[in-house]
């Protein structure tokens, strides 16, 4: 492998990687046409700009089509068990805080069997980057409904239609107080790549809900949002400090009516009347996340929330440093002798 044509990044002084460096030698085994390919490509393309060394990257996953992700990354990788990616990643990050730890998980892996680890990792604010491949279906097990499948959706396990109200993953993340919450999609490569970078840059728990097409078991679930003709009128891209404008001719916007969002036409309102996104407001993040489920509203995409709060592995380290500062580095002989001791002399 030649490294000559590699440029140096400012941050680490290491030779900057290329997307190719991040591809492992394993054949990628997703179904042809699966949205997962695009996500893999965006991750491989966007990570190099962040200046990590290959050996300092670790990808952890659970079980599912999406969870095969680590095998395709030429980094350290851990294909865990179903639902436990975040628990494994939390331990890895706690024990080895210098790594950049990424979690690739599915809507089932993350929100069904793994839901508890998800909300706990979010509240504890480990510095993990979580990409949830949200195809609203169980891919690997061949097409049962998932916690994000729609009410009424017919799947292998709901031949008469699902009667479960689906999770809104962003609401779950916000309810668990994740410090970075975003949504993107497989078919908007630029947006996806930039969202991945934003997640990486966030110090703390980052969650990206990635709408992903499973062309075998739930084909077209997101075409309304991803396809050229329908996308402009059915999506709104939110950006910090910017008003919420959308529509084919940028002719629509979102306004706040008290604390409820409202779709307005820019013929009736000026841009200045529109809601301006604020990534630092939990309340606004909730309002916008909730908008997803409001019929007649565009699907919001982008970074909903990006706030700072103490990161668990940092605090862990601090407590250790403080303990050492206070009592000195632990010494076995004194440990053994803690509390009452007594001597028995030869007798």
């Amino acid at each position: 492998m030649s490294t000559e044509d590699k440029t140096m990044t400012k941050e680490t002084g290491a030779p900057q990687l290329t997307a190719k460096d991040l591809a492992s030698d394993q054949d990628v085994r997703w179904c042809p046409g699966c949205g997962d390919y695009s996500i893999l490509a965006q991750v491989q393309r966007s990570l190099p700009s962040l200046g990590y060394k290959k050996e300092d990257l670790a990808f952890v996953s659970g079980i599912g089509c999406s969870s095969r992700f680590p095998y395709y990354m030429n980094t350290y990788g851990f294909h865990g068990i179903h639902g436990r990616a975040l628990a494994i990643a939390s331990g890895l990050k706690a024990a080895h805080p210098n790594l950049s730890v990424w979690v690739a998980t599915g809507d089932g892996d993350c929100l069904s069997i793994g839901g508890n680890h998800f909300i706990h990792a979010a509240r504890k604010n480990f510095d993990l980057n979580v990409m949830m491949f949200d195809n609203q279906i169980y891919g690997l097990t061949k097409g049962q409904y998932s916690p994000t499948s729609l009410y009424g959706q017919k799947t292998k396990s709901t031949p008469l239609g699902s009667i479960d109200h689906p999770f809104n993953p962003l609401l779950v993340a916000l309810g668990a107080e994740a410090s970075f919450v975003a949504r993107s999609m497989d078919r908007d490569m630029k947006h996806l790549a930039s969202t991945v970078v934003r997640a990486a840059e966030h110090h703390g728990f980052s969650f990206i809900d990635i709408l992903q097409n499973c062309n075998i078991f739930n084909d077209g679930a997101f075409f309304l949002y991803t396809e050229k003709e329908t996308k402009p009128d059915n999506t709104v891209f939110i950006e910090h400090g910017k008003p919420l404008v959308f529509g084919k001719d940028n002719n629509k916007g979102i306004k706040l009516d008290g604390f409820r969002p409202k779709v307005v036409s820019l013929e009736d309102y000026s841009v200045n009347d529109l809601l301006v996104h604020d990534e630092k407001s939990k309340e606004l993040a909730f309002i916008l996340a909730h908008m997803t489920d409001m019929p007649g509203y565009p699907m919001p995409l982008g970074v909903f929330l990006d706030i700072e709060r103490p990161v668990l592995e940092d605090d862990m380290k601090k407590q250790i440093d403080k303990a050492i500062e206070k009592s000195g580095r632990g010494d076995l002989n004194s440990l053994f002798r803690e509390g009452n001791t007594w001597e028995i002399t030869g007798n």
């Binding site: 492992s24 394993q26 060394k53 290959k54 050996e55 300092d56 670790a58 079980i63 680590p70 095998y71 990354m73 030429n74 980094t75 350290y76 990788g77 851990f78 294909h79 865990g80 068990i81 436990r84 628990a87 494994i88 990643a89 939390s90 331990g91 890895l92 990050k93 706690a94 024990a95 080895h96 210098n98 790594l99 508890n116 680890h117 706990h120 862990m316 407590q319 250790i320 403080k322 303990a323 050492i324 206070k326 000195g328 580095r329 632990g330 010494d331 076995l332 002989n333 440990l335 053994f336 002798r337 509390g339 009452n340 001791t341 007594w342 001597e343 028995i344 002399t345 030869g346 007798n347």
Partner: protein
């Protein structure tokens, strides 16, 4: 040996017998709020300082604080001390301190015939008698005739002694236990100084309480000295124990200390992924307070996250542990399977308790041997070892870590609530004499293969952050050497056989099975884990009675020691006391076609030596 000594009371002199005994068992019992655990542990510390060998057993109620006076709210602490090497908290108490009727009711059946009973007569009022379901006061109906009953108005005495120092009535009566302790110190001729020093330290910030407790303690001691009802004192001379420094340690403390030691000896940062559960939580507590060992504790959201975080930490290069008890162990099994597949070192400590299901959560049992060895999907072998006494937990924690590292495998360490909460003197090792259990990390990109193997059949440990060793692991079957995902029939057979062979290989790095007792015995008591003390004590008694018996205690349950079969075949008859329905016996038949008799006790209580002695005698007779 009897001596009559003079002892000073306020008024003058009193003559009492000083009777020398080889061993004594006392039990303190009262309401959960009566401080019996504290009384017991103070008596223990002092006794330890006097050089006796000893063994203790606390017995908590399932409730945190049951309403005062109820039968299910009784909390007990038993202590056995001796002038020789002993192994259990004692058969039947020689003395019972009962702070109320419920405590008497619950414990009286265990006291040996003719034993002493000290009761707080002030607590024997109508309400408490009713709560304890006594129709008539046992102090009056003659039912205690077979015992030496000492009726002491403890509450009143304490109230008098603490009068005027400014404590509330509630605070004053809380000192009752120190009065009882003082009285026992007098009876067993122990010094008050260690406890006085402890009171000073503990209640330093609250001098009034300190003063109250000190006065209560002295009042109790003086009561013994003064009143005429006590005519004998007892003396147990120091034991002939190996020279060295000792401390008293519970099994859970010893496990925690062993874990810290293992990390130091492995030269690795430590990690515990845990979820609280009785009776295993103290290991988490203890380790949480030793962060200066660069040890990370993580209280996870559940047992699954506990073990998975530990697996993540192991992947990250830490020496990782997870601890739990029965139900939590069941929850961890899927992840244990993962650890077996990815072949990373990990120690799983299961402090067993009464089952099935929630069972008897505060009571010990040995019924998780099956689930430890066989309780997972697939062919999923792993080493299982068990501690035999509280202090032994220290050594077995290190041993578990040593095997995990050397063979790159998860290892289960079984202890139980009896060992975990019980205590005994621990001859402190010198850190510098402990073995180096470290293993090298892989670092060479030229030679590294994720599933290559060394002579112990262990694969190399390549820690993230190491350049050039990037690799992927996971729960799918892996190709030999390569470590890539592989579904080929031949490879799966090979790897299944390999995982079995690898665990079998642990036989090469564990000691052979040892034997205690008579060289020419044809009868052996066989045991594992926490039954050690009771079996050993029973064996010693049988030997002392001239019986030809041996005791074979198995610390390595999977794989068994290489020579175990041969050892067991020496005997015509085996008797296996187990706190389950015969799980070891089952495994011995399955492994060696060696049959045995089982002495099963599944009562939430450990064996006492006499039970085993009786069963052994019966078994010997029928040979």
């Amino acid at each position: 040996m009897h001596t009559t000594i003079e002892t000073a009371d306020g008024k003058g002199k009193k003559l009492v017998d000083l009777i020398e005994l080889d061993e004594v068992t006392v039990r303190f019992a009262g309401d959960s709020g009566d401080g019996m655990q504290l009384t017991g542990s103070q008596f223990t510390s002092t006794t330890a300082l006097m050089g006796n060998d000893l063994s203790t057993l606390p017995d908590y109620p399932a409730e945190i604080r049951a309403p005062a006076g109820t039968l299910y709210g009784v909390s007990g602490f038993q202590l056995h001390f001796s002038n020789k090497d002993i192994h259990t908290p004692g058969d039947k108490p020689d003395m019972l301190v009962a702070m109320n009727p419920a405590a008497l009711k619950v414990n009286i059946k265990d006291v040996r015939e003719g034993g002493a009973i000290i009761v707080n007569t002030d607590a024997f009022d109508a309400k408490n008698l009713k709560l304890a379901k006594y129709a008539v006061s046992p102090l009056e109906d003659g039912s205690l005739r077979g015992y030496k009953l000492f009726e002491v108005p403890i509450t009143k005495m304490v109230t008098t002694a603490l009068e005027g120092i400014g404590l509330s009535m509630k605070e004053i009566t809380r000192s009752k236990n120190f009065f009882a302790l003082g009285l026992c110190y007098w009876m067993y001729n122990r010094p008050m100084e260690p406890t006085l020093a402890w009171i000073k330290e503990k209640f330093g910030k609250n001098p009034m309480i300190a003063e109250g407790n000190e006065r209560a303690l002295r009042a109790g001691y003086n009561y013994g000295d003064t009143t005429e009802i006590f005519t004998s004192r007892f003396e147990v001379k120091p034991a002939k124990l190996p020279a060295g420094t000792y401390r008293n340690v519970t099994g859970n403390e010893a496990t925690a200390i062993g874990i810290l030691a293992a990390c130091e000896l492995a030269k690795l940062p430590g990690f515990l992924g845990s979820y609280p559960i009785t009776p295993a939580s103290e290991i988490l507590h203890e380790l949480s307070s030793h962060k200066n060992f660069n040890f990370r504790t993580f209280q996870a959201e559940d047992e699954i996250a506990g073990i998975c975080s530990a697996i993540g930490a192991a992947f990250g290069g830490s020496l990782a542990f997870t601890n739990t008890s029965g139900p939590g162990m069941a929850l961890k099994q899927e992840a244990i399977g993962l650890a077996i597949m990815i072949e990373l070192p990990l120690v799983i400590v299961n402090v067993q308790r009464g089952g099935p299901s929630t069972g008897l959560p505060t009571k010990p049992e040995q019924s998780d041997l099956f689930q430890a060895i066989l309780g997972r999907n697939g062919e999923s072998p792993l080493p299982v070892i068990a501690a035999s006494s509280p202090a032994n937990c220290f050594w077995m924690a290190i041993e578990a870590a040593r095997i995990a590292l050397k063979h790159m495998t998860p290892v289960v360490l079984l202890t139980d609530g009896y060992l975990g909460n019980g205590s005994e003197p621990w001859l402190l090792p010198k850190a510098e004499n402990l073995p180096d259990i470290s293993i090298p990390f892989a670092t060479d990109p030229e030679t590294y293969k994720p599933y290559s193997r060394n002579e112990h059949l262990a694969r190399p440990w390549a820690v993230p952050g190491t350049p050039g060793l990037e690799h992927r692991i996971g729960g799918l079957e892996k190709k030999h050497i390569d470590g890539t995902v592989n579904y080929e029939p031949g490879n799966h057979q090979f790897m299944t056989d390999m995982r079995a062979a690898k665990v079998k290989k642990v036989q090469d790095s564990i000691p052979e099975q040892d034997i205690f007792g008579s060289e020419d015995a044809e009868f052996a008591l066989v045991g594992w884990g926490g039954t050690y003390g009771a079996i050993r004590a029973a064996t010693e008694r049988l030997l002392a009675a001239g019986k030809k018996v041996a005791h074979v205690h198995i610390k390595y349950l999977n794989p068994f020691p290489k020579n175990l079969e041969q050892v067991l075949r020496r005997y015509k008859k085996l008797l296996i006391p187990e706190n389950n329905l015969g799980q070891l016996a089952f495994l011995l038949r399955a492994n060696y076609m060696i049959d045995s008799e089982t002495l099963a006790k599944v009562q939430g209580l450990p064996f006492v030596p006499s039970e085993i002695e009786v069963a052994a005698l019966k078994s010997l007779e029928s040979m």
